[in-house]
């Protein structure tokens, strides 16, 4: 295997990391408030509002039901408006964020739902405001579960990012497509697949370990 391919793979890893990390971070910045909103406005939630709850829930479900590859193509004009191009890693971040945010919102909602309702009630009885319950009770209590959710989101986004390689995105996905699919260089493709598996493993393991490390419910 020549130096050129090795350099290519190294750049690929870098681009993949950039895309996936940036997309995960941005979709969490958007997804956490969205998840909290859905949780809090649900019936029996801390600020019930069935109108807001339905609208947000509907939008989340709508975006989630569009297959990623179709979403990717459908929002090309939007992508161009934001990053100025539709090719390369930065351009991939846009559809990745759009696809991942509703997913993240649902993960956050599920994590918050796991928090024992009695604890929320105790906080209410102590005279906490809605915001205090969210920021000082719900999110800190759900932290380990949120972290587990984040590792799942990360691997899902990694999978999506490889698909983005098909339509001009960068990273390992693009290398696998260009060399394995168009040029029949099976070896290169296999190496990229192995690298993807490795990245998933590292993040999955690391995320779960960290989650259980910070979880104070586990006796040590």
């Amino acid at each position: 295997m020549n130096i050129k391919i090795i350099n290519l793979l190294i750049t690929g890893i870098g681009e993949t990391f950039y895309m996936v990390v940036a997309s995960t971070v941005i979709s969490y910045i958007l997804g956490i408030p969205l998840g909290v909103l859905v949780y809090a406005t649900d019936k029996n939630g801390i600020c019930q509002n069935s109108f807001v709850n339905r609208i947000v829930g509907l939008v989340i479900n709508l975006v989630r039901s569009v297959p990623f590859l179709i979403l990717l193509v459908a929002i090309l004009p939007f992508t161009r408006a934001i990053v100025g191009t539709t090719i390369g890693s930065s351009a991939s971040v846009v559809p990745l964020v759009v696809a991942a945010t509703p997913f993240v919102a649902r993960m956050v909602e599920a994590s918050l739902k796991e928090v024992n309702h009695g604890v929320v009630e105790a906080a209410q009885a102590m005279g906490s405001t809605g915001w205090q319950i969210i920021s000082k009770v719900l999110v800190p209590e759900a932290k380990p579960s949120l972290l587990v959710g984040m590792t799942i989101a990360f691997t899902t986004i990694l999978g999506y990012s490889a698909m983005a390689g098909f339509v001009g995105g960068g990273g390992l996905g693009a290398i696998a497509v260009n060399y394995g699919y168009y040029r029949y260089q099976t070896k290169v493709m296999l190496i990229t697949v192995a690298l993807l598996v490795l990245i998933v493993q590292i993040f999955q393991e690391g995320g779960l370990k960290l989650a259980s490390y910070i979880d104070k419910r586990i006796k040590r």
């Binding site: 009695g118 604890v119 105790a122 009885a125 102590m126 005279g127």
Partner: protein, 335 residues
Amino acid sequence: MIRLVDVSKEFKTKDTKIKAADRINLEIKDGEIFGIIGFSGAGKSTLVRCINLLERPTEGKVYLDDLELTSASKKELLKARRNIGMIFQQFNLLEQKSVIENICYPLLISGVRKKEALTRARQMLELVELTEKENSYPSQLSGGQKQRVAIARALATNPKYLLCDEATSALDPLTTRNILELLETINKKLGVTIVVITHELKVVEQICDRVAVMSNGKIEEEGKVEEIFLSPKSETGRKLVLPDSNSGAAPTRDYLRIVFDGQSSFEPVFANLISELGIKLNILGANTEDIGGKAYGQLLIERPDESNVKKVRDYLDKTKVSFEEVFVSKEVISA
């Protein structure tokens, strides 16, 4: 003072309506320990949650001192809640926070500075005798210790009232007694008015001044603990106090119920009775407990013939021991 005026709470489920609290009128005086007792599903939790408006009554008014909570603004309500501590059967501690952080929580949310909150939290830990657990997490504590932390947390903001919803129901008898003693100390030393919800008679016996008996969302009777324990008038009251006739533990013959409600346990009341009157008495059942040198509970003896009943009656009256004659045959007919 906590005052409930015609408070009702109706739950609507898909096809039915449940009146969990039904036109409740109640006045809890400052400084007392007030019990609410009843069987499961009676509506006790619902009622106590109406006091701090965790559950908003569908009808009626709730007053805390002079403030009508049911029409108070959101801000007033939050402030009032800081004056009403609450503890629960399942403790409800923040599991990702340490003991000291849990106790600091109510202080921090009410704007106390971190350093002062810490000092205050440490004082509270001392009160509940858990100073060595400051940095432990709830998962590392026993049930009794968790409830102590919950009590410290509930009292950190120096509230005037404390609501306890089945606070000892998840604990063993010895731990229950310790927690009840702690609650009593808090009432006596800090002057906190306490509302105790329970389905256990012995909890009421041990610490309450007054008690309300609840069933089907209604208060069936209300009064001093001694009165209700001596002669329960309502059906639920009798079920709670008298031996359970469904379990087969109840006598099938007429009997006398001798009630111990805090006499010195060092005095052998029953032995004296027998030796002094010189009559043979048959014990049908007994359920007594020695709490801090005082006897609580009851002793059931078979009803002797009429002349001896009179002797027993006179003797017990003379020694100021309360008793009640229970006619099983009559009860069966009336039931």
